[in-house]
Homo-oligomer: 120 residues x 10
Amino acid sequence: MAFPDASQMLETFDNPAPERDYEILHTAHEFTSLCPVTGQPDFATLRFRYVADKTCVELKSLKLYLQAFRNEGVFYEALINRLLGDLVGVLQPRSMEIVGEFSVRGGMSSIITARYPDSN
Amino acid sequence: MAFPDASQMLETFDNPAPERDYEILHTAHEFTSLCPVTGQPDFATLRFRYVADKTCVELKSLKLYLQAFRNEGVFYEALINRLLGDLVGVLQPRSMEIVGEFSVRGGMSSIITARYPDSN
Amino acid sequence: MAFPDASQMLETFDNPAPERDYEILHTAHEFTSLCPVTGQPDFATLRFRYVADKTCVELKSLKLYLQAFRNEGVFYEALINRLLGDLVGVLQPRSMEIVGEFSVRGGMSSIITARYPDSN
Amino acid sequence: MAFPDASQMLETFDNPAPERDYEILHTAHEFTSLCPVTGQPDFATLRFRYVADKTCVELKSLKLYLQAFRNEGVFYEALINRLLGDLVGVLQPRSMEIVGEFSVRGGMSSIITARYPDSN
Amino acid sequence: MAFPDASQMLETFDNPAPERDYEILHTAHEFTSLCPVTGQPDFATLRFRYVADKTCVELKSLKLYLQAFRNEGVFYEALINRLLGDLVGVLQPRSMEIVGEFSVRGGMSSIITARYPDSN
Amino acid sequence: MAFPDASQMLETFDNPAPERDYEILHTAHEFTSLCPVTGQPDFATLRFRYVADKTCVELKSLKLYLQAFRNEGVFYEALINRLLGDLVGVLQPRSMEIVGEFSVRGGMSSIITARYPDSN
Amino acid sequence: MAFPDASQMLETFDNPAPERDYEILHTAHEFTSLCPVTGQPDFATLRFRYVADKTCVELKSLKLYLQAFRNEGVFYEALINRLLGDLVGVLQPRSMEIVGEFSVRGGMSSIITARYPDSN
Amino acid sequence: MAFPDASQMLETFDNPAPERDYEILHTAHEFTSLCPVTGQPDFATLRFRYVADKTCVELKSLKLYLQAFRNEGVFYEALINRLLGDLVGVLQPRSMEIVGEFSVRGGMSSIITARYPDSN
Amino acid sequence: MAFPDASQMLETFDNPAPERDYEILHTAHEFTSLCPVTGQPDFATLRFRYVADKTCVELKSLKLYLQAFRNEGVFYEALINRLLGDLVGVLQPRSMEIVGEFSVRGGMSSIITARYPDSN
Amino acid sequence: MAFPDASQMLETFDNPAPERDYEILHTAHEFTSLCPVTGQPDFATLRFRYVADKTCVELKSLKLYLQAFRNEGVFYEALINRLLGDLVGVLQPRSMEIVGEFSVRGGMSSIITARYPDSN
């Protein structure tokens, strides 16, 4: 497994309103990766909600970064925590929440939600 | 009535991000058991929401554990509390909520919700 | 008007998990009574949400108790408060909320919500 | 513009459970008035949510009172505040919220919400 | 890029109930502007929620002001912050929230939310 | 079982456009009767679609006629055929279809459809 | 009852493609008139589907013509046949269908459909 | 595999309107059987649409007959054809259609439809 | 008004299966043009359904062609017939249907449907 | 581009009811391939509706065959015709229809439908 390199792939632009704590939510409706056990494809909707500090993520680079998981095997729980680590590392946001809604497998669906800073 | 043995059936894996309080929600759309009075089948959607500590529940073993109730008779209220006891025992989560949404019987539907630790 | 006698009609069973404050919600989708002024039928969905203490209400007896209002005339506001009084009297729950959603009459629909203990 | 006289039109009945703070919500799905500028008809769904003190509003009189606006010209913001003043004056409720959801005009829809006592 | 001049285009009228903190929500379902990079059209639903102080925004002037962005290139994040600045400048509201829900581009949709005063 | 007497209860008015074969559809959303075996209430939505000849059915009399089944026991299949016979007898329509959509009993719902003249 | 004069109110424009049998459907979502018996307001969605011959109906004049029924009393069946007569008279279309979907009264809703030429 | 014996389990009653070709549709929302290969549970909604000749199927016996498949292994295609054979054998209907809508397995759902007499 | 030149803008590719009459449906969810009378923006969903003969329309060129109407004034009826003429001219399809669903203006929405060859 | 070899990958089983023309519909909700021009991923729901003759397609082999397109570049129109050719070749069905519903790209979605035998 060779995860995409977020620091290489994710591009940013200057936050146009750093004086304000406003919320940005990007929803990727077509995420797909592979199950690391069976090799079968997984499908998910991913939601990225954050309050930017100095930089915002450029939308097209986020799309390409997510597409780079297409043929990688990764567990649900590990994926969401990996994405959170990657995006927090690149963007240094004031706060961020990532939600992954995974489609039905064997009659069961899953939703994983991780937040930065850890506020549970 | 011989309930499935959770400690035997449920498998776990190491929490990939124990440093963070993130939320896992698995929804089983196809649960069925029997009414202990009439022997008629009951149908429910079950939701398992938890914050893992050291271990996460392996999804396929959760499915098989739930299927083991297929021919057991159990009341709604007892089932949800039993499931909560079983999963808390095996996973030792930081917190957990289980919701059972039971389909219509005699023009009435039921939803039972139990939480650990008890926060009402 | 002769309202059903709740203490006679409602049956209970021992709460299987009294050590925990878990929530029970029964929804009756097919309630009907009469308008006390016009004698015309009224239709409603009723929701009973409670935290049991020593006893839970037996579902079939709740259905029969509600059916006993079929040919009784009662105002919306009085009905919901009467139901709350009856169920609190029989179950002695830790808390209870009853919601009645009444269908459209003259282009207007109504929802009445009462809680025990009174927490507004 | 001659607004309907609420003190004449609205009828009340004794609150059947004044010892409790329960909530009443009446939704009028078919409100219509006129735009005071263009004379064109406006359409709205109106929601009246309140906790009664000594009296409740009689539903049919509320319907007739609302119908009396059919050929009156009134701005959205003025209407909702007028309705709140009228109903608070007649009912003297413990609290009340009125919501008006106005249908699309020029690609824009509007929702106005006023509360008594003023709690924003 | 020549943004519309809000102080010229937005008209106001006196708040009919300044003694009360009531909420006004206008939703523009048909906003369109251009992507500043590709020149391709963007489409959004915009929501303006505010508590007026001395003045309310006149609805038709708000529509025309929004239409003036039709052939302007602007990024999502910059647009919502610009709109908030413009409307707060003209209306001096007690509080305001603007939400932009942008339609799918490359399998991703976006929602931007900014508030005055800054309460995050 | 004493079914309502349709010839007494149903009122008619002159078809305002007998020169044309236009279609009338009345939908009764709140029909209820009793199960002749168990005495339990049944609930249904009934649809009456017809092309009038000389007379149309008066809507309020249709409502009262249907309410007269409230405490009568009748099987689904017999009910719909009885209604068709009654309405055809009173209205002598050019054609008529009656559909009964009965709510869930024991996990099963039913729809019965009968037509005049018999065109299957 | 003084129905609006269609020949005065309805304006037309030349069919831009008379060489083709294409279909036009206008849906008026906010029709309201009065019940001729009780004087209570009725509400409906009206659909006008037609194949134009020499002329098309101008949309704003259709709206104003329909608004002219606002304070007129008219039965459902008579209204739809009247509208069909009026529009066929003015437009002389190749074919036309008018559908009126009337909102719930006493638990019953109605849909009336008339066509020109009469093809049942 | 020991399929339920339809001739033993299905009960019938006399068609109350054999002079008419009316349609009966029963929908079983909670069917479950087993996959004959994996032993995993399958779930389906089954629809039985028929025109009765001399007899109708009794609804409760149909429910019990379907429940008898709960622990039997059977392929989708074989099940629907088996059900059609069984019901045609017992009811001798004028016509019948059975539809099975099977829930998602491996990202794929299936619908099987068989008719008597064979009219494709 | 200067309509886009379809023969310049629309690109085609060879039909990959000309031996078969299969159906292609492209739906443009974000069409916008101007009202030729008021200059106000119009919004529509456009559906292009056709059976290709020798060539298929290239999707991106169709998008750009439709965007070229953004600042043109055109009536609904004229637009749909113009689009049909343009696409039939370029593609020479075996058959084609174009549907335009225009959003609400003054409480009325419109749908225009034209077909080639003319089969009404 | 190296398309999967259907004759190798698709497995079949004997039609359990060849004496009857019944319909089988399999819906693959999670199809993904690549755009042959841009290399960007495409997503679709695919529907396979057929009347079997001697053999039926085995569901798991159909899933694996479809997954084999995951990293292949193919146009919408070519894909659906290719799938139809492959499945007709392997199954020799009495009839078959394949529908591909492709998700939004640049504000446009597409549906392609092909049938065997060609019946347009």
